[in-house]
Symmetry: C2
Subunit: 289 residues, 2 copies
């Protein structure tokens, strides 16, 4: 492993792994996370402080990510998507009063990359950095709207049974999942109750570019009690919102890998890491409602 990867690994050890956030880590803690010597980690941390990427609390000696990382992130990811999605997420929050999320695919998980909430919405329901399972979350299934059966199987192969947080509502096996996906594809949105936490319901729809390529998933989550009789209305809003993002992206955004148009920003989807699952989606441009 190269030093650059080690540095990256060390920085990524600061990722929020829950909604609480507030990541401040000690040298020993980090050393055990990345599996390296304390001395090593200590020196590397000092270098990163030098570079203003990290900051160290003078009292507790613990480290955390500096402001510059926050600045960096403003330009991270697919900027066209980010800029198109932001106001639309805000509008969704304004109209529903619930939390709105944008999630991209990372290997065989969903990775939530954007969140907007209203001032009086509950501080619950998905956080930036949350990894979602593919089979028992609305977002995960919406990410698989364009996947053929084989790909669905590959993406969820190791997940059934593994993750115990699934509820009785969740599909028990691949067949149930495929059946559920067929229904949800037809209706154009996915729903899951008790997805992340008990009493939480979320509705998800895919976001596509103008070539029909699935880029991300748009999601609204709220307490089941508030959501129950609004699911369809919210789904309708979400589908409109998704279309609005597609429109805002413009025709020049990305294209299928096969397409030879020479547009500028044209990354696939999320990261495409060295993972067992090859993420080639079936290319079925779905007509925009």
């Amino acid at each position: 492993m190269s030093t650059a990867e080690k540095v990256a690994q060390l920085m990524l050890a600061f990722e929020c792994d829950n909604a609480a956030g507030s990541v401040e880590r000690s040298v020993s803690e980090l050393a055990s996370i990345v599996g390296r010597e304390r001395s090593q980690v200590c020196r590397m941390l000092k270098s990163l402080c030098q570079a203003q990427v990290l900051e160290q609390d003078p009292d507790s000696h613990r480290y955390r990510l500096g402001w510059r990382v926050r600045v960096l992130a403003a330009g991270a990811g697919d900027q066209v998507l980010v800029r198109a999605a932001r106001p639309i997420l805000q509008a969704l929050v304004a109209r529903t009063g619930e939390v709105a999320l944008l999630t991209v695919q990372e290997a065989n998980r969903g990775l939530t990359v954007m969140r907007e909430e209203s001032q009086n919405s509950l501080r619950r329901g998905g956080w930036i950095g949350q990894r979602s399972a593919m089979h028992f979350t609305a977002t995960g299934r919406a990410l698989m709207f364009d996947a053929d059966d084989d790909l669905v199987k590959a993406l969820t192969a190791d997940q059934f049974g593994a993750d115990s947080r699934s509820t009785p509502n969740a599909p028990r096996n691949v067949e149930e999942l495929l059946q559920r996906l067929r229904i949800e594809r037809r209706q154009g949105y996915a729903v899951a109750s008790e997805e992340i936490e008990a009493g939480l319901t979320s509705v998800s729809v895919p976001v596509r570019n103008m070539h029909g390529h699935l880029l991300a998933v748009l999601n609204v989550s709220g307490p089941t009690t508030r959501m129950n009789d609004r699911v369809e209305a919210i789904a309708k809003l979400l589908i409109e919102a998704s279309g609005a993002i597609t429109h805002a992206l413009g025709p020049r955004h990305a294209q299928d890998r096969e397409g030879a148009h020479r547009a500028r920003p044209s990354f696939d989807r999320a990261a495409s890491p060295r993972h067992a699952v090859e993420q080639r989606h079936q290319q079925t441009p779905v007509p925009m409602p």
Copy 2:
């Protein structure tokens, strides 16, 4: 320079340096920015892609920051401050219809770390990652509200004349600046017209913790035509908002370095890099309005 610093330097080369954003860079470009060999940079970039920190466009071969960086940033900086400030910035946007910013101090510059805008506000006026001069911007001067004259001189020593973007309204020398600061301290807020762009007016107030320690600056910017007769009203809103943040931070947030209270997150202010200017502020707890 250690490899870790080089890696950091390379990542920081992706920082947005203007409002346009969209940072996608080629190997050669990056090599010239960090002043190193293309081959070197190329290998380092590949490692960072491996770690999913960067992504490479398969067509153009250019690199950009990945989604994981965006995720990282959600936990970067003073989390307590970030969480307290977010809803208050949103409220300011809602009430004024203009852009609201939060800026911390980084050496002898202001570094804007948070931005909220309304859907119909102009896409202008400060971006995340913007560096502000201390003397001819409202934000810069608000950052110096607690600084004594010597510190002000030190912070702005190399800036007069150097930055040609200053306008006729700007203080020409340290004396004028000090005079202006005295007035602005008394009224509790700083104003600057044509600060960032022509036709843009911005109003700034300091944000403090409950110990009176200056943490950041809150700012609202808009077109001069819309701002002109609202400056005082907006300043009043800003001062209230600043107080609300102070309140939201809670009594446990930080303390003066001298204070021996054992609270948890207690970093000084922004980054405190190896810079010529020692940033020790005069400790004059200013009563909260």
